[in-house]
């Protein structure tokens, strides 16, 4: 797993209180990991802080799975 992916995973485990092995690439924050709208906003903010990036609201709307988050951040950090 890439460094980015493992850091994303760690944030999700911490914020959503889920088990590490549930945080798979295709897992949806809301449908699979029990996040509500507030959790989702918090996750995006944590990603911004952890990776020192800005994720505009219109793009944050498209990040709803673990894999989408990792790809977005990898792209942003290029």
């Amino acid at each position: 797993m890439s460094d980015i992916a493992s850091r994303v995973k760690a944030i999700i485990v911490d914020k959503l209180g889920v088990d590490e092995n549930e945080v798979v690439t295709e897992a949806s924050f809301t449908n699979d990991l029990g996040a509500d709208s507030l959790d989702t906003v918090e996750l995006i903010m944590e990603f911004e802080k952890e990776f020192d990036i800005q994720i505009p609201d219109d793009q944050a709307e498209n990040i709803s799975t673990v894999g989408q988050a990792v790809s977005y951040i990898e792209e942003a950090k290029k």
Partner: protein, 417 residues
């Protein structure tokens, strides 16, 4: 329309001297102080370095990790205390009509620690408002009753009362009145507070409201003593299940006491200072007697607001003498804040619970730490000093007053005939 009778069928408490009702009562009757040096943060720059914190409380014993992050401590205390009370009431949540159960909860401040920490984080940044999405919903005082209803599915009236240190007394009175008027069969009520934070301690310190007896914290809360020097900040929660009498009887519920009335008034005088003649306090006790259908001679005990401040304690006792006349000296007057410290918005609830437990056991908990008589206090008054006193209690009253001049008083009556 005839008002319905209301009884107490469940109790829950998370206090600095006991983490449930039985521990709380044991501590109350043995005269235990909950004060100790503050463990939550470094107090080296603070004038007051002690408080009555909750002991041995691990949020993760009660909530999963995600819930802990979503709940300020004041809301955690609310859920823990109300869970105990609901369980104690024996209400079968699978059969009861949840549209007929409401929650009215008092919190004087709400999520002060959440507010403080979010603002500290903001101030550390470059001015970009990166507030956590849980900031507002964790902080607001009404999230405590909101969370209680979410947890149990209670769909009746639901809101928070905010009247500083009278908050949970106002909550109990509102809950009482909704049942009296037939809006609900059961109300979960009480209050919680978690203000032992830098902002809380610093804020109250700068008002000169807190005791600074740092060399002897356990002796600091000393209501009515000549050398009292301010209140000791406490935290925690207290919960009561109020229930319509016939509803309680029909399900064979254990009944602790009847809630016979509540009084409310305002000092209309000063933001924080008590009225020197206790005008609003006189009014609130008179209102309570009238609302409860009581004569002054009926009252056996008064758990006072008695915070251990120089002005407040004297004004309250003067008011008691004014309202009760010659009978004042027959009343067991006490202040359980001598042991618990001042739980702010939770005070009304935990002190009402103390009054109800006293009635159950016919034993009045003491006002501890009294050493020197105050010459401004009538020595004929029985302040239940230092030792509990046996007393057959038929009627108990509990006073609470809040900054802003809010006064509330609740009366309970024994079910024993």
């Amino acid at each position: 329309m005839e008002l319905k009778r209301v009884v107490v069928t469940g109790l829950g408490a998370l206090t600095p001297i006991g983490n449930n009702i039985s521990e709380y009562w044991e501590a109350l009757k043995s005269g235990k102080s909950g004060a100790a040096p503050i463990t939550y943060f470094d107090t080296s720059l603070f004038k007051t370095k002690f408080a009555c914190e909750i002991k041995n409380f691990n949020a993760t014993d009660h909530f999963d990790r995600k819930e802990v992050r979503r709940l300020d401590r004041f809301a955690q205390y609310a859920l823990v205390a109300s869970d105990e009370a609901i369980l104690d009431s024996g209400v079968d949540l699978d059969v009861v009509d949840k549209y007929r159960i409401g929650v009215i909860w008092g919190a004087g401040i709400g999520g002060l620690e959440t507010f403080q920490n979010e603002v500290i984080d903001f101030a550390k940044g470059d001015g970009t408002p990166r507030f956590n999405p849980f900031f507002i919903p964790k902080m607001i005082a009404d999230i405590a009753p909101g969370n209680i209803s979410i947890k149990h599915g209670f769909m009746g009236p639901n809101y928070a009362t905010v009247s500083a240190c009278a908050s949970s007394a106002n909550a109990m009175i509102d809950a009482l009145n909704y049942i009296r008027l037939g809006y609900s069969d059961i109300m979960v009520t009480g209050g919680s507070e978690a203000a032992v934070t830098q902002a809380g301690m610093g804020g109250f310190n700068s008002m000169h409201a807190l005791s600074t007896r740092n060399d002897d914290p356990q002796k600091a809360s000393r209501p009515f003593d000549a050398n009292r020097d301010g209140f000791v900040l406490g935290e925690g929660g207290g919960a009561l299940i109020l229930e319509e009498y016939e509803h309680a009887k029909a399900r064979g519920a254990k009944i602790y006491a009847e809630v016979i009335g509540g009084g409310m008034s305002s000092d209309a005088y000063h933001m924080t200072a008590p009225h020197p003649e206790g005008k609003g306090v006189i009014a609130v006790m008179k209102n309570c007697l009238e609302n409860s259908g009581l004569k002054p001679e009926d009252v056996d005990t008064i758990n006072t607001h008695g915070t251990s401040t120089p002005l407040g304690d004297v004004a309250e006792l003067k008011a008691i003498k004014n309202v009760f006349g010659d009978h004042a000296k027959n009343i067991n007057i006490n202040s359980t804040k001598s042991m618990t410290g001042h739980l702010l918005g939770a005070a009304g609830a935990v002190e009402a619970i103390a009054s109800i437990l006293a009635m159950q056991h016919n034993l009045v908990p003491p006002t501890i730490n009294h050493e020197t008589a105050d010459e401004n206090i009538d020595p004929e008054l029985n302040l239940t000093l230092n030792k509990p006193q046996e007393r057959k209690i038929k009627v108990a009253m509990s006073n609470t007053f809040g900054f802003g001049g809010h006064n509330a008083c609740v009366a309970f009556k024994s079910m024993d005939e």
